[in-house]
């Protein structure tokens, strides 16, 4: 058999639809995960030991268990307790849990790296804690986390392909389907790889440009 893309043309709308779902679940779970991550970070930085413990345990577990296993637990495992989540919700939950832990670590590293002198300078000018955070810490902190956060989004987008195993019709799942219908395996997955690659690189380039525009200091 030789390289032939012609068989794939009728399936392109289907693949683009899959790509759209991949982007859609990535964006949603990135947003949810970032909120979760913010709370996990705040809990870990808090004064209360119980909160620190819960947050620390959450982060540890997520970082040491494969995403695929978490997804199986949510989609298949929970049915045992009468909880039947559809593939979309299962994926969103698994990706959100996963992303939240990494976001918490990114926020911690980024905000800890803000020089403590800025906090002292703000205090010395009479600012209270809220003003100190708002005017002295927030923007330098955002600058610190920005590259890692966009990188995390790209990873999440690539990881979202695991949803194919529970039959969520995202890009990889559609690739499997087109493959079984056309048997043009190499072509199908090359096109798929290309689609992932293009979206990821556009995001990476956009992030670098955005960084330059946002942080001129």
């Amino acid at each position: 058999m030789t390289w032939y893309l012609g068989d794939l043309i009728p399936y392109m709308p289907l693949l683009l639809q899959g790509l759209w779902i991949s982007i859609y679940i990535s964006v949603l779970s990135f947003v949810f995960g970032s909120v979760l991550g913010l709370f996990a970070y705040l809990a870990k930085a808090s004064r209360w030991r119980v909160l620190r413990g819960i947050s620390g345990a959450y982060i540890e577990v997520v970082r040491n268990v494969p995403l695929l296993v978490v997804l199986y637990l949510i989609y298949f495992g929970l049915t045992q307790f009468g909880v039947n989540l559809d593939p979309l919700w299962s994926t969103l939950i698994a990706l959100t849990i996963n992303n939240g832990a990494y976001v918490a670590e990114i926020l911690r590293a980024g905000f800890e790296a803000v020089p403590k002198g800025l906090r002292e300078a703000a205090h010395a000018l009479g600012m209270n804690s809220a003003q100190t955070f708002r005017y002295a810490i927030l923007v330098p902190g955002i600058r610190n986390v920005f590259p890692a956060m966009t990188n995390q989004f790209i990873l999440l987008f690539l990881f979202s392909s695991v949803a194919s195993v529970i039959a969520l019709p995202e890009l990889t799942n559609q690739l499997l389907r087109v493959n079984s219908e056309t048997l043009r395996t190499f072509e199908v997955f090359t096109v798929g790889a290309l689609l992932y690659y293009v979206v990821s690189s556009v995001l990476a380039i956009g992030s670098r440009l955005g960084e330059k525009r946002l942080f001129r200091w």
Binding site: E120, A121, G126, M127, N128, Q131, Y135, V139, P140, W217
Partner: protein, 240 residues
Amino acid sequence: MITVKDLHKSYGKLEVLKGISCEIDASQVVCVIGPSGSGKSTFLRCLNLLESITSGTVVINGHDLGDRKLNTSAVRQDVGMVFQQFNLFPHMKVLENIMIAPVKVAKKPKAVTREKALELLDKVGLASKADVYPSALSGGQQQRVAIARALAMDPTVMLFDEPTSALDPETVGDVLQVMKRLAEEGMTMVVVSHEMGFAREVADRVIFMDGGVIVEDGNPAEIFDNPKEARTQAFLSRVS
């Protein structure tokens, strides 16, 4: 203006200040010198509560720092501080750095503050730099902006924590010049510094600290030319 009585400061078991007492009058310029680890920066930082006081009393311009109902922000607005590392807000332009505290903390109107900020910038010789970010300035320029930022709150006392130690030698002069002018205008100043020339020329009084206590306290001529204590003599012979 400043009264310190038996000030102690400990970090856990480590006692850094072991009973500091001194009086500083209005318009006095006091230089605090001493070897590193002598507690001079800690002493300075206790004066605006960047460090909590373990025991003893500190009264600044009528604020008793040991008072439980003390308004910390009010004290700090009254006491300006300049740091070794400048600590300008990197994401704000020079003018914004100077305006942020008067506008957001003292709630002064923007237009008035802006005018005053520009005046202060002119005073520190950086009128042309209002619209640049701190990263575009040399260390000496950043430090002069930091002085202007502190002055924008109309403090009655200015604290300087080794203001020239992080600077390239050629930019030290401009900063000292600004500080000297401030002293001449009658600002009450406490300066932790290694600039013996500045201490000798500008200070009304020099305090030598070692091991968490004040070893010697007097006018610059006495301390530099005729130190009484052996530790002062030893320190001065090492630094000059």
